[in-house]
Symmetry: D2
Subunit: 384 residues, 4 copies
């Protein structure tokens, strides 16, 4: 009935892919040679994309190695980064070099929970309270509903937010080493179907945007989503001066005026120089979901100048990463994960610490560069 | 002195790249075969990355074609999308199919300006006012300083935000078909050096986070950054029902509870279902900066059910795209741009309209799917 | 030594007050007759103000009565409102009249906790984790420290937010019928002094702005502060039409475009028409803290048109009120509280429900007036 | 027809007021003696309130005098403050004393515009563009429509924000010495009626929440509403130490951790200690709209320690004040305005500078108190 060749071909084989690509070439009048030259069987990506016609190749480099002393990442890591923004890798690498000379990064994962927040239609306030009471008294049935959908995910909490004839339920799950969005969605939906049956509420949407996935939401910055990670380093004064050509005080000053005050004046969630850059480059390299760069963009960077030199820290409340599932098993992405020993089970928190360490290095380097520009100018002024 | 082989090799040739990759393999104990199998000369990416060791290959598919009736995009476009999230391409394609049957997308670019906001140190309020007065009375010198750094960029405006001993200057530039971040940075810096010389202010950072690049900032949502684009469509009731298995009213209800109310309750900038997904997939495919997905995530989606059926619109105030520069000339990315006739000069606004059209299709499809889930459940309830 | 007469007089008696007033008259060259004509002994306000020279008299009216069916407020209440904004009282009263004819307001208090969040200086991430571990294992000592400062307050929770060398601890207390800010401050400080002694952390500020008092903070909108209250009503279609001269659909339309979409586009916390107006008028009348109007301004108003007519609800996550302490025992304010049977112990939640009911009435009336303006215009258009 | 006695009495005379008060006493079973004892004729408040039954008396004190060197306020001012929060006046006064010893406050008004943003219904994007084009080409007719409603107000700008089938028009007016909300509303409505007639758009609401009045909106923080005011002071190190018992560095540290970082982490618009307190006390004293405390709460406070000691500044982008209209002509409020020479024409900007100066003093005092608490503790620790 429906055409199954050319643009309409929905097949997943190499031949289907070629057929589609040719149809796309014809439709667009464009040769897609580079797109067609990729190094793996399309079936490997069968769960990752539809209408595949090839790949886009993103340049991959590395920054580091960087020394990390975390709870999960402990050692020297060479960080794979996929980007098309010149100077980004070099800048991160510079930050890492300075950090290494200063004893490395210290990291910790403070929280770990994937959230999904369906919205249910209820008959007003009283109904909401009944639904909440039902939830509170049926933990066992709810856990069973979750268990019917996943063996890896475990329900941590359901936080209710009633609002008129809507009831938002923010589910939190531990999702093992998967980023966990699908797991959380399926489990939340199963629980909501149970709630519907037992309470007469109706699920309007399995996501009511209190989750909140891929949107800059204060709730994620405050309550966390995925991993909440901190990374810090202390850079001795002489290293700041000799390697970064700035003073600790000038870096602190830049951080205050730019990241803290400037971000406040512009109504920004988070306060950082360019955290999204590091997150994007590492996410794309390792098969994470690049739309979740949004979560990483809410990083807060703080600096302090003290007797030890420069203290710098990044707080990342929304690091949504996994080491299984998603794009992690694609050939290149899998290799990139292996480069940092983050492929497969038991590695997701380690990856989160590596993300934060990389962001720290990028923040340090950029802040220092801007502070040095300032100093440089001051020097010129003094020299006149 | 410094080692120029292995991990320390900073060369840009194929041989350098191979040398580094082998050193990386050795350092990490990981074979990087897939990463090494790419289809272009590393020198082509010499301005896009450092420490290149290969590429990461992201599956590329297409959605559409979609019919767009815009000011710049006008015709049927097959949209290249790079993603590892299964079902995304299919969902967008479903949205496009429905939109096509309904007469296509209507789009417009409302504004176009790249911003950069240096922060200067001043001696307090009075000094700020003097600097602002100087700027107001030296437009010609300022334009010359800009012209000394760029032939494509043109200064539109400098908006001053004084705050104590800091003065933030938000520069807006038209940047032709480049995304324009670098152009804006260089030109802003040149003007600030002039301001420093003439007024005694000191530039602390060429970015004071009032710009704001790659951060979720209300200022970008309100005042715009890059292209401000709208895309809309009207889907007849019978098509909503037969193709999306939902009613216009149920989609509107989902949009209200989820995108509008849920986003408000979670403190979100923007109000959409998953705009970042579409933006990320299209940005990665076409060599845009994936960290600027953050800007796209502040989309607002509105729906209305009326006699015509369903009206749906996306407002995107921060579409930071270019059709020259950045990653746009890399082989695969260039082909992807050609697929939508967006490579090179005179195409950036067209690309922005295509971005918004793609987001519209993805929003429609996801909202409808969630609304249909609701209907489905209601149907089950009725069937009992 | 210091002058104790005239402007420098720090006494609290009537004579001191007169002495100061005369000095103020002399200093400013202004007769302060009206300010001097007040009806109570200045000593009664000795804990409410320093340098008292009289009072400012705010016109007090009432709206209602309004029928409330809440968990704590149950009956008909005449609402005291202090304002200088003409038409405000009349508008609220109109809303209440319509609500009464429709069966009254339904309310509920969903949460009740006063928060205070000191910030402590720590030696980085590891130290933060130690402090948190200490807190987790010393609940008894912490409760004792709280008990040493208050007999009414009870610690509910301490939520830690580590960030670099700062550790923010968000304390939640039940504070009985006091608004509880002072109680929470003293108890939090006592606990922090204990933490300082035991863990080596240093309290930098008893408020680290994660509380957050009198600031528009997403954390309060999401996690609540003071009382989280909902109020709803259902207005039959015929009453909407005959009394509000609008249709349910036009009110819903106004609510969507103005409160939901407009608030999102302007980057607003909350989504309402003018909740702060009602909160301010009721707060000033009843001796609440008028700076906490900020909390009330984050109300979200939702509307739905259905077979029953118009459903309308306000969600107020931050209603910071008390019926003891603060200005509640001043003569006029005490009388105003008595008007709604809210003076003294056991009344704070009742007051919160009355606040939300009043906000609901004001929102309904204003939305309807704006929708009617629209209709009116439509009528004119039709009549041509 | 309708009952015109008792609670239903809508009269404005003293007798009506008494009649209503007695009815209220009867209805509520409460004697309202204090409320009934006020010092002016109710007719004076006839445009300020309906259903008046008396007044609520708020204790009034003063802080200062404070020395202000502004563009409009220049001299020593004794600041009238109405509050029921003990210690607030004393704390502000302490700040002023320190500021006076340090040479006083320096202030400036950077912008002055009252905004109103109606939302119009349009037939989609193209229609929006037509309406905008019509506006751009009919400035004269628009100015005439404005002139038909006000002789004091003058249209500055109309900023359009199209979004689907809604078009938001943010009108800015200079409103002389009135706060100007009503003036802006009437003028905006008149222009919209003209736009309706000429373009076929329909005004849905005269306020589309892009204004935004009495709501914590980023647009006001960024683009300003009412007066945008800065106030700064420099406190010599010895005065900080001897009078505030803190060091400049400890105050800066408190400001960073609390106001800057804490506010960012809690998703706050603005960054201050308690600006709303000062704004509320001064607004209530002088007959301003207390619901507009919300605008004042978005203040940003910055501090810097340098060779001169402590530099401190408040940036207030949303100071919505007037010296004519509203509650300014009520007897007590009028006297309070006279105390600071701010009654009547030509005084509104002066009042705005006084507001900012008062906020500065309150911020300084509170930050110092918290920093001293920290020091105090440190001293105790040292003494052991």
């Amino acid at each position: 009935m429906t055409d199954t060749t050319g643009l309409k071909n929905r097949g997943k084989t190499k031949a289907d892919t070629e057929d589609r690509r040719k149809a796309a070439e014809e439709f667009t009048g464009t040769k897609l040679d580079s797109i067609s030259r990729y190094g793996f069987e399309p079936e490997l990506a069968s769960k990752n994309i539809e209408n595949m016609i090839g790949t886009v190749q993103i340049p991959l480099g590395y920054a580091g190695p960087v020394a990390i002393h975390g709870e999960y990442a402990d050692g020297e890591y060479l960080i794979p980064l996929a980007t098309t923004e010149g100077a980004l890798v070099a800048s991160i690498s510079r930050g890492m070099s300075v950090i290494n000379q200063s004893g490395g990064v210290r990291t910790a994962v403070l929280a770990d929970a994937m959230t999904r927040a369906p919205v249910l239609k209820v008959n007003g306030i009283k109904h909401s309270k009944k639904v909440i009471a039902w939830i509170d008294s049926h933990k066992k049935e709810i856990d069973e509903a979750v268990a019917g959908t996943t063996s890896h995910g475990k329900l941590i909490d359901i936080e209710p937010f009633p609002n008129g004839n809507s009831l938002y339920l923010r589910f939190s799950f531990s999702t093992g080493d998967a980023m966990g969005m699908n797991m959380a969605t399926l489990a939340s939906e199963a629980v909501c179907r149970l709630i519907e049956k037992e309470t007469g509420a109706t699920m309007v949407s399995v996501s009511g945007n209190m989750c909140s996935d891929k949107k800059p939401a204060a709730i994620n910055m405050i309550s966390g989503r995925g991993k909440t990670v901190l990374a810090e380093a202390t850079i001795p004064r002489d290293i700041v001066e000799s390697k970064l050509h700035a003073s600790p005080e000038s870096i602190v000053d830049t951080n205050i005026r730019k990241n803290l005050v400037g971000s406040s004046m512009s109504g920004t969630l988070g306060a950082n120089a360019h955290a999204a850059n590091m997150v994007a480059a590492l996410f794309i390299a390792t098969g994470q979901d690049p739309a979740q760069v949004v979560g990483g963009s809410m990083t807060i960077t703080t600096c302090e100048a003290n007797d030890d030199g420069l203290y710098i820290c990044v707080r990342m409340p929304t690091v949504e990463v996994g080491t299984v599932g998603g794009g992690t098993s694609l050939p290149c992405q899998s290799e990139a994960l292996k480069m940092i020993d983050c492929q497969g089970s038991g590695k997701a928190k380690k990856l989160a610490e590596i993300v934060a360490s990389t962001v720290l290095a990028g923040e340090l380097s950029t802040l220092a560069a801007q502070a040095a520009g300032q100093l440089g100018q001051a020097h010129k002024a003094l020299g006149r």
